[in-house]
């Protein structure tokens, strides 16, 4: 087709110069080449037919000389993907930062823990606290509950003495702080017969066991309503956020607890429990994940945010407007499983303390809500840093005397970038992560960057288009959605799919936003607007 288009100009030029011989020679050359191509193609096909007739082993590649188009362009499916669906996500971006944790789990003495009511979206500012300062509690004893939803109990992660009920502005409760015992004492629960009990009894047991807060719903990412029946339950077994912990290391040896947790969840929904598995690595994920029974497995390959459960839900079974689905983290499932297997509330967590400012980034075995000061003790060389509970994209800034947030299993420490840079936008002196090809980072795809909290520019109106769309592997137009939220346009928000998103999905778009807009904050405002209308 291209040849016929260009033949026009060729013909015109040859007519001008009187060189009609050239055209003839070129045509002759094309015919000869085409003849050769046909001969080679036919013999290649005969090769394939003969090989198939002989019954040769066809795994690895096709029989012919030339690769098939689908092999060149399609993503190769890794060998360990045996069962379940496979989805290759083309959009996204991995931010490679320095300070990845070494693959071993250390024990570190953390003596103070807390549960923080502000971690829970929709929690009233002053929940009803059922313990007082100086009380002794066991792990699994309820600490407080929301007066609007009194059946959901929030339990102590460790045993010990309540040393402080920390209050913030207008007497809102910031944290219930526990000084942990040397050896954790667990509250003893009655055994629960999973097969022979009704769903209502199961829900009551979960509420009493203080594990209900682990169950979050989509849309809105609030704690699930015990009266709801979700259509499906989703768990993502890998985290693609920058410096996120490798969950294969976290679940080592915990196969029984994980499976028990999955069995419990399967009883809670008339639909299925779906787990998202990592197809990015060269080796298969942990046996704990690949050997899970009674669940639907879905393999995902792609850059961040492929590991976000919201993105996986979009590709498995998108949430319909009136639907509710439930999501949980891997370590949360372990806690639920341990409750049923060992009748105790085990809020143990493997936390990754990471970041370029940490001297020895590592995994630390501790409990939920650990105090940051204890986690990073003797491990920092620079104190002008920012402590982030969670990852650099959607985590929350914390102070040293604060605690790791309820759903986070990562503490990132990055440099505070509060100094000026001479012509930083034109000729930067130190490398920085960017999705833009105006930086030559893309020529060195494995290079890691030292993160810094500088905004790298000032806030502007939306100018560029198409950037967010190439980072969000969902059929959503993020820029128009955010504009609809800014305008308070309720119908457009809902129509453009705000209910399918939470902050962590749009965090990568906010990272890349050239106009330095606050997308996560705006999205949450939109979600709260929609939640209030329901």
């Amino acid at each position: 087709m291209l040849f016929t288009i260009f033949s026009q100009s060729l013909f015109a030029q040859s007519a001008e110069t009187g060189g009609s011989d050239y055209l003839l020679y070129i045509l002759l050359a094309v015919v000869v080449i085409a003849l050769f191509a046909i001969i080679i193609q036919v013999s290649d096909n005969m090769l394939i037919i003969e090989a198939q007739r002989q019954g040769a082993d066809g795994s690895g590649a096709n029989f012919g000389i030339f690769p098939r188009m689908s092999e060149i362009f399609k993503n190769p499916v890794p060998e360990y993907v045996q069962d379940g669906s496979f989805t290759a996500l083309k959009k996204g971006f991995d931010i490679l930062l320095e300070g990845e944790a070494e693959s071993k789990v250390l024990d570190k003495t953390v003596s103070t823990f807390a549960v923080q009511p502000p971690n829970f979206i929709g929690m009233q500012p002053i929940p009803k606290v059922v313990v007082g300062e100086g009380d002794q509690v066991k792990a699994g004893d309820p600490l407080f509950f929301d007066k609007n939803r009194p059946e959901i109990l929030y339990g102590a992660p460790v045993s010990g003495e309540i040393i402080e009920i920390r209050r913030g502005e207008r007497r809102a409760i910031e944290a219930v702080v526990i000084l942990a015992d040397k050896e954790v004492q667990y509250r003893q629960f009655a055994a629960f017969d999973l097969e022979n009990s009704s769903r209502d009894e199961l829900v009551a047991y979960l509420l009493d066991g203080c594990v209900w807060p682990f169950i979050r719903q989509r849309p809105y990412d609030v704690i699930a309503d015990p009266k709801d029946v979700p259509s499906n339950i989703f768990i993502s077994t890998f985290d693609t956020a920058p410096l996120a912990p490798d969950l294969n290391i976290v679940v080592e040896g915990k196969g029984a607890a994980f499976q028990k947790g999955l069995d419990v969840l399967a009883r809670l929904t008339p639909g299925k429990v779906h787990i998202g598995l990592n197809a990015n690595a060269a080796t298969a994920p942990s046996e704990v994940f690949t050997g899970a029974q009674g669940v639907e497995k879905h393999w995902f390959k792609g850059q961040h945010p492929a590991g976000n459960v919201g993105v996986q839900i979009h590709h498995i079974a998108p949430v319909k407007p009136k639907d509710r689905v439930w999501v949980l983290g891997v370590q949360d499932v372990l806690t639920i499983g341990t409750l049923f297997l060992e009748q105790r509330f085990d809020a143990g967590r493997v936390v990754a303390v990471v970041g370029a400012e940490v001297n020895a980034p590592a995994y630390i075995r501790t409990w939920q809500g650990a105090k940051l000061e204890d986690l990073v003790k003797d491990n920092l060389s620079n104190t002008h840093v920012r402590y982030i509970s969670g990852d650099v994209l959607s985590g929350k800034q914390k102070h040293l005397d604060s605690f790791l947030n309820f759903y986070d299993d990562q503490l990132t420490v990055v440099k505070e970038g509060d100094d000026y840079e001479l012509f930083g936008w034109l000729a930067p002196q130190e490398p920085r992560p960017s999705i833009s090809k105006t930086y030559l980072n893309f020529l060195f795809p494995d290079s890691r960057f030292k993160a810094s909290t500088n905004t790298r520019g000032e806030k502007r109106a939306f100018v560029v288009t198409g950037d967010y769309e190439r980072l969000l592997p969902m059929d959503i137009y993020p820029q128009h959605l955010i504009k609809a939220v800014i305008n308070g346009d309720y119908e457009s928000m809902e129509g453009l799919g705000i209910k399918e998103l939470v902050e962590e999905d749009i965090a990568l778009c906010e990272f890349a936003c050239l106009s330095k807009q606050e997308l996560q904050k705006t999205l949450r405002e939109g979600l709260e607007l929609m939640r209030a209308e329901e």
Binding site: R386, I435, T455, G457, V464, S492
Partner: protein, 418 residues
């Protein structure tokens, strides 16, 4: 050195109450230093790209057009006089003459535009936003070289105030500001920007009977400078040679089709850009390099460029098939080399603020620009070029295109809900 500069800036910082002065100070300060703001309430690490860097990348991509355009102003001037006919003959004369014509336009466009932006930024209480860097770089490239500076100043002022600031500033304009400036000159002072006489600089008339029209600077500063260095000087008594016409290839094609064009210019001349025209539109390979640079760095949308070429090609092929007038019979692939198609494609149509914002919408947007521009070029009897009007037309329709794309997304989502 950085600390010395930082201290200097801190010492000269004007009081915050003097709004306009402080805004101007802030603009230059943020030009020299990226601010020390850290992230709050959201992501903790931000991408290294910001609007300044984006705009400067576009300006850098345009510099090749500036280089050739400046030189070409001088070259066309001397070709009309029958002197220094070789491309590199009289190099210093042509270069300086081009600069004498171009630099004042660049300075006036930036002073007026940035001055207005500074004023509005001070009034609204935010920093100066970088939208005008690209607009200011584009405006001299799309004007005829002899445009009186007062006309330029008025047009820039009206375009920036009505086209941009009235809507809210950078990122809020509906139409492309550089094209809006040109269209104001086009409709308010049409003799300055259309016809055969305006595309060659420094002549009273670009046909037989015209004489040179050198300004004060050329005669009283450059000529003494060159003669003191022993170089050739400007001939203040030169006249246009017989048989010369300052018509651009498009004007010729409008009158007599492709034969009329090839009598005066060869296709190779049109490709390399040694023809009269707006300052920046003639050097096609340089525009292509700029366009490739913008696409490779992801600054401009390749979808708009490709669809615009498609739209133009298909419309031109249809016109070739119809062949009613001589202009329609110009072979469709030569339309790429004539006029400002490539410039409009690379720098004007791809302006992200005024183009369609959805990727699917960009295909339609570029295609219709190509189609409408071609129709205006070939069928319009009064004006041989069409891209300025076509792009402004589609700028107004871009939100409608986006609306349909978004509606299809919304209805797809609703259908899933059933």
């Amino acid at each position: 050195m950085k600390n010395a500069l930082l201290n200097f800036f801190r010492r000269i910082e004007p009081d915050k109450s003097k709004r306009l002065l402080h805004t101007a100070y802030d603009a230059f300060f943020t030009f020299a230093f990226t601010p020390n703001h850290t992230t709050k309430d959201g992501v903790h690490v931000r991408d290294g790209m910001d609007l300044k860097r984006l705009m400067v990348n576009v300006v850098i991509a345009m510099q090749f057009c500036y280089l050739l355009g400046t030189y070409n102003i001088g070259h066309q001037h001397f070709v009309a006089l029958g002197e220094h006919l070789g491309l590199l003959e009289g190099f210093h004369l042509k270069l300086f003459y081009g600069l004498v014509k171009l630099l004042p336009m660049w300075i006036v466009a930036h002073l007026v535009g940035l001055g207005i932006e500074f004023y509005f930024a001070a009034k609204r209480g935010h920093g100066v936003e970088e939208g005008f860097l690209v607009t200011g770089a584009l405006i001299p490239l799309i004007m005829p070289p002899d445009l009186p500076l007062w006309i330029l100043a008025i047009s820039v002022a009206i375009a920036v105030i009505i086209g941009k600031e009235a809507f809210g500033g950078t990122g809020m304009n509906v139409v492309n500001i550089a094209l809006f400036t040109r269209v104001i000159v086009f409709f308010a002072y049409p003799t300055e920007i259309s016809g055969d006489d305006v595309w060659v600089a420094g002549l009273t008339k670009a046909s037989a009977g015209g004489v040179v029209d050198y300004g004060w600077f050329t005669v009283h500063v450059l000529n003494p400078l060159f003669s003191s260095l022993g170089w050739e000087t400007f001939n203040t008594a030169a006249a246009v040679v017989d048989g010369y016409s300052g018509a651009t290839p498009l004007a010729l094609a409008a009158k007599g089709g492709w034969e009329a064009v090839t009598q005066v210019y060869s296709p190779s001349q049109m490709f390399w850009g040694i023809i009269p025209g707006s300052v920046g539109e003639t050097g096609k390979p340089l525009i292509l390099i700029g366009a490739l640079l913008l696409v490779a760095t992801g600054v401009a949308s390749w979808r708009i460029m490709v669809s615009m070429v498609f739209g133009m090609a298909i419309t031109a092929i249809l016109f070739n098939a119809w062949g009613f007038t001589a202009y329609m019979q110009v072979p469709w692939y030569y339309h790429l080399w004539m006029g400002s198609f490539l410039f409009a494609m690379a720098f004007m149509a791809t302006d992200p603020v005024t183009a369609a914002s959805t990727n699917r919408g960009k295909w339609f947007y570029g295609f219709f620009i190509g189609m409408v521009g071609m129709v205006i070029r070939v069928l319009n009897p009064a004006y041989p070029e069409g891209w300025m009007l076509a792009i402004l037309f589609m700028n107004v329709f871009a939100p409608l295109i986006d609306y349909f794309v978004l509606q299809s997304n919304i209805s797809k989502r609703l259908k899933h809900a059933q």
